[in-house]
Amino acid sequence: MGQQHLAEPVTGPVTVALVEDHQVVVDGVRSWFGPPPSPVELVAEGPTIEAVQGVEADVLLLDLNLNGTMVVDRVAELCQGGQRVIVFSEHEEPETVRAVLDAGASAFIGKGRATRESCLETIMEVAADRPTVTPPMAQAIATDERPHRPQLSDKEREALLFWFQSMSKASVAARMGIKERTVRQYIDRARVKYAAAGRPAPTKEKLLICAIQDGLIQPDEVTIYTSLAADPGPR
């Protein structure tokens, strides 16, 4: 844990550390990942956050309810060092999902609906620092009515709601009469806006990191960005 996104882009299999207090779930997740060589490898697991601390992993998969205690308030601390955190929980209430997203979690997988494919896809997307939106996240983002909520377009909100309520992104595309790729764009764009609104970015540097994390710009474009920011032209 504690590796930086920008410093170490993921190459090879994605390494995952799992914090989960039920052995049956740990075994289930391990079987989903499959034996090596697999695109995703479970490198550490334990029933508490402390049990996996110090382990280098691309993604931390975190159960929210550990031995009867909700650890929502520890998500921010875990994300602070640049660790990608995916919350894996049955507590899919929109307010809980919003709380962990605001704290910096990269994604939220609902235990109630997760499948092997959806779980692996989310882990791979997060490891590649691409925006990803699971159905519980879609509901939480679409129904956010707090004063500082991100400004989503009608299409983005519509795509999020349908994604939460339908069977697949293909069915959302059919419903909206657009291409599936466009649906994905709407949903990803909403996630980017949400991440930018949820993450405090007081400095240009922090904003830049957010933009790179959200896939808005590539790290190799940073020089151009910096030179523009440093342009002493009229404001």
Binding site: E93, G112, Q139, T143, S166, M167, S171, A174
Partner: protein
């Protein structure tokens, strides 16, 4: 009980406001008009005095209109206060200088009551009333200085009448304000108690409902365990399905968190339970945010099509509800082969729009209601 207390508080606000108007009216008709008419020869400029009386009456009417409608003084009182003080000056000019503070000098005592009516129920009533009363006292003192009536007797008379008038007017306003505040406190307390009662009652209902559902799940679990004990094969798909369905129901029961039963959610839950009794595996993400109040007929229209899809589900279904203050969306995805689907969205008279879609052996039914007037 709460309504009765609220009515009492409203009556306090209304009748104390009108009480101030009654005092001003009785004073203006009983005393001001009497001295104006009976003391006609004593006035230096009797018509100016009549004009002052009429201007006072006009301001009184404006203030009364506002008190009767909203139980509070008019919105813009500055101009009305200046006109009222002008009545004071007109009254003084109309009388012989020796009559100052005498029987014919009615204006000084009456305009305080207009002040009381003007500031009634306003947030800064104390400051505003004291300013009007002080201006009235200052006008009188200036008139005394101009007419050379600043001897010991005149000053004493001035102090007695001014202090007497101010005490009555301020005292009445203060007393009524206190009465009104206490009545409002009582209303707040009653509301809080009523809310506590409602919460307790709903918590009790939820608790009873959960106990009933726990008992139902326990029966299912007992039956399954009995089957296993009697030699049922744990690898049998039917037994496994039964175990999974039981586990899902139990998990949902444990993670349910809403404290106030919503009619839409309750109606849906009933159908979900019915589907589960038919061994349909139902996934239901938590409903989360509070649902807005729905106009008549909307709930029925929102539920009709999704419930039909759920009722006809063969083995699995997913029920979702999304709510915002301006929108409610209910959806069911199920392996329902028999549900007739409409290619075009169906618009119900209540404003609910229902859409259907078939894909890969599943049907997706989604009904959405948008609040036509989100500003409310």
């Amino acid at each position: 009980m709460t309504e009765e207390i609220e009515q009492v508080a409203q009556r306090y606000a209304r009748y104390t406001a009108l009480g101030a108007a009654v005092i001003a009216a009785v004073w203006h008709l009983g005393y001001d008009l009497t001295v104006t008419l009976t003391g006609w020869p004593a006035y230096r400029l009797p018509w100016l005095n009549v004009a002052a009386w009429l201007v006072y009456t006009a301001v009184f009417a404006v203030a009364l209109r506002s008190l009767a409608r909203e139980s509070r003084g008019p919105a813009r009182i500055r101009e009305l206060a200046v006109v009222t003080l002008a009545v004071d000056v007109m009254g003084i000019v109309a009388i012989e200088p020796r009559e100052l503070l005498g029987i014919s000098d009615w204006a000084w005592g009456s305009i305080g009551w207009i002040g009381v009516m003007l500031v009634w129920g306003r947030p800064r009533w104390r400051r505003e009333l004291i300013a009007i009363l002080a201006a009235n006292a200052a006008v009188m003192l200036a008139a005394m200085a101009l007419t050379g009536m600043l001897d010991r007797v005149a000053i004493s008379k001035y102090l007695v009448v001014i202090v007497g008038g101010i005490t009555m007017q301020l005292g009445y306003t203060w007393g009524c304000h206190l009465l009104r505040t206490r009545a409002e406190d009582a209303v707040l307390l009653a509301r809080r108690l009523a809310a506590d009662d409602a919460l307790r009652e709903s918590a009790q209902r939820i608790h009873t409902d959960r106990l009933r559902r726990y008992a139902a799940i326990r029966d299912v679990a007992e039956e399954l365990l009995q089957q296993l004990a009697d030699g049922a094969d744990p690898g049998d798909p039917q037994v496994r399905d039964g175990c999974t369905a039981g586990a899902m129901r139990l998990r949902r029961l444990i993670t349910e968190r809403e404290d106030v039963p919503d009619e839409l959610v309750s109606a849906l839950r009933e159908r979900i339970e019915a589907a589960e009794r038919r061994k349909v595996m139902v996934t239901v993400p938590p409903f989360g945010d509070y649902l807005p109040c729905l106009p008549d007929g909307v709930r029925e229209d929102l539920l009709r099509a999704p419930v039909r899809a759920l009722d006809g589900a063969r083995t699995r279904a997913r029920v979702t509800v999304s709510a915002m203050s301006t929108m409610v969306s209910v959806a069911v995805v199920a392996d329902n082969d028999d549900l007739p689907v409409s290619a075009a969205p169906v618009r119900e008279p209540s404003g609910v729009v229902v859409t259907y879609q078939r894909q890969g052996g599943e049907v997706w039914v989604n009904s959405i209601w948008q609040n036509p007037s989100p500003g409310r």
